[in-house]
Amino acid sequence: MNIGILLPRSNAYPLIGSDFMEGIKAFARQAGLSGELHFFAESIGFGGQEKEVYAKTEKLLLIDDVDVLVGFIDQKVLELVKPLVSASGKLMIVVNPGANYPANRVPQPNMITLDLQHAFLCALTGAAAVNGTDVQAGVATTFYDCGYLHLAAMVHEFMAAKGVLKFNYINKQLDNEVFHIDELSAFLSANTGTKKLLCIFNSLYAAHFYKALNAYEKAGDLHLYVSPMMLEKKALENLETGFHFSLEGFMSWHQSVPNEENHLFVDLYRQEMKKEPGIFSLLGWEAGIILKEIYNFSNGEYRNGELVVEMLKTKPLKGPRGVLQLDPETQFFLSPVIRCRMAGGSTQPEMEYDLEFKNEWEDFCEKPLEGSVAGWTNTYLCY
């Protein structure tokens, strides 16, 4: 089976493409399918150059004539290649972190999405931030992160639950500058009634943000509701003696998920590849799981995208996150969720695994995007 792959580049995560590719190949190798799955990869840069993405997609589908297309691209650019993919009739597996979501949730019959559900998890976090009598919060994010819908999802859910937003702090610093949060600290000092922060930072900036916020004199009064990447190991690397503030949020995967498939995944990376797996290796590994299912169970009809999608709807897949199930309505893969909490002073996050939010997902998908929507066109984390 020939598989075309649209691979992203990223300044922030230089290994994003190779981690993803390595994840697919590592899975194929351990599943004994290295000889059966043949990969044709094309780089699409940061994913925001539409003509380039279109041309590479066309090449894979028409010239290389791949059987299945795996595209690490975001929703806005995806709109442009939809006609190509539909015309081909082949299956496209759309992969991305899930920081954006489509304006229209009704899927194309031959397209499915594998993501990390970041926007949905941010929506859950926003709703969780309204509890008790304290309904005030401020937003803290970066110029880059706020260009995706995960921020809108978090803020909308917070406000829908009667939360009151007191301010927006948008950090615009580049990574090589000395990171500071002076404006945020000044605001918090002058408005001590606001003790909750809705935070969206990718893991690189999250580490800087945590460190800077920890130095704020009243950090112990604060409780942070954070995006999934702020719970990753890389984000928490400054956590030696614990933060003064407390935090909580949701994530789709962690190295500690207690199931056999995750042990297999993590151990293979650590023992054979001598490295730690991350979210991009996970997405690659899971794409491999899906490809294996297609190869084994589509009776050689893997070029018929619509038929493959219908087959996948009936097959729950076991993976490192738990069971991956293709939602028949949206054709997004759903998986169990992890709730992560950390008290002030603690050095160890508390994890609750295997949580299901099926009703919340349905509610989330039924809410249409309202008003004008603007944002970055490249894939989240590719900049």
């Binding site: 380039e52 066309e58 229209n104």
Partner: protein
């Protein structure tokens, strides 16, 4: 590593053929982006011609009116005169001959407000609502010599809610049309040909223009959900689903299904309750329909107005057409 492919845009000048307000959002988008070369409207649509001229009065975009016989000549002439390289159709009442659809360099496309090939025909919005589809669709296909039979370029669906009327769905699909024509034009302006796929003829269905009989309620066979769907499909373009009582023609404009199990079922169509605000009507299966708006020659009225004409609980609505309930 290869250098990135340079983003260069080619100019688009579209000829838009239309005969309903469904085309207006796309027309506005094209005009805003300087991609509208000319608009051609059949001369039997004076209101649409007038509204289009009003909408485009601040521009120098010509609005051409045409009879059926003059269409071919006027369309060909417009394509040449205004250097048109793209043809777009958004509800149009004339067949488009090859001499016209083969002229624009970037192609001629029909924006069809229904999924294809399942909803070919002149009024797919009506039939999607009437058929109580879970999703409504919009397709952009290449124009060929058949009726809605050309290769599909883009197709998308949106949820169709049980209370969506013809008018509401029309508006939603018009917005979707803006998105999909935007994508089509984006692809064409990058210099690519529109990718397309032939329609599956085995799944094709052509809906002819609806007959008066199709627009009328059949009290003996239709249940509450089916009647409500018909009412919604007829709102506003037919001013409601037709029925009659005491020889008086009445159109029901809005109705809801009231959960109720009548212990002693009465004949379907019987008025069970009537006051100033609403009227309850018995339907098959012991269900009842609550109606809040009606249309008669006398105007758009609440059902209470019917009391002036002697209507009262116990009287029965009838089918308009022979053979529907006789």
């Amino acid at each position: 590593m290869e250098p990135p492919i340079e983003e260069k845009k080619e100019d688009i000048k579209a000829l838009l053929l239309c005969c309903s307000r469904f085309a207006f959002p796309v027309m506005q988008q094209l005009a805003y982006f300087g991609q509208l070369g000319a608009v051609l409207i059949p001369d039997h649509c004076p209101e649409i011609i007038e509204e289009t001229r009003e909408m485009l009065k601040a521009t120098d975009i010509p609005v051409i009116e045409s009879s059926k016989t003059a269409f071919e000549e006027k369309a060909c002439s417009a394509i040449e005169q205004y250097q048109i390289n793209l043809g777009l159709v958004l509800t149009f009442s004339f067949m488009i001959p090859r001499t016209v659809f083969s002229l624009p360099a970037k192609g001629f496309f029909n924006v069809h407000p229904g999924p294809l090939p399942a909803y070919r025909g002149a009024d797919p919005i009506f039939h999607q609502v009437k058929n109580r589809e879970k999703y409504a669709g919009l397709a952009i296909h290449k124009v060929d010599e058949g009726a809605d039979s050309g290769d599909i370029v883009l197709q998308e669906k949106i949820p169709l809610h049980a209370d969506d009327t013809y008018g509401i769905l029309s508006e939603k699909l018009a917005v979707l049309a803006v998105k999909l024509t935007g994508t089509l034009i984006h692809i064409l302006s990058m210099g690519f040909a529109a990718p397309s796929r032939p329609q599956d003829e085995s799944k094709a269905h052509y809906y002819p223009k609806q007959s008066n009989e199709e627009l009328a309620i059949d009290w003996l066979t239709q249940n509450a959900a089916s009647i409500i769907a018909l009412i919604n499909a007829c709102n506003p373009h037919n001013k409601g689903a037709a029925t009659k009582i005491n020889t008086k023609l009445i159109r029901l404009l809005q109705a809801e299904n009231i959960p109720y199990n009548d212990d002693e079922p009465v004949p379907p169509g019987t008025i069970l309750y009537l006051d100033d605000e609403y009227m309850d009507i018995a339907v098959i299966g012991g269900q009842r329909l609550r109606v809040r708006f009606i249309y008669m020659e006398e105007g758009f009225l609440p059902p209470g107005a019917l009391r002036q004409f002697g209507l009262a609980p116990g009287l029965q609505f009838e089918n308009i057409y022979q053979g529907k309930n006789e």
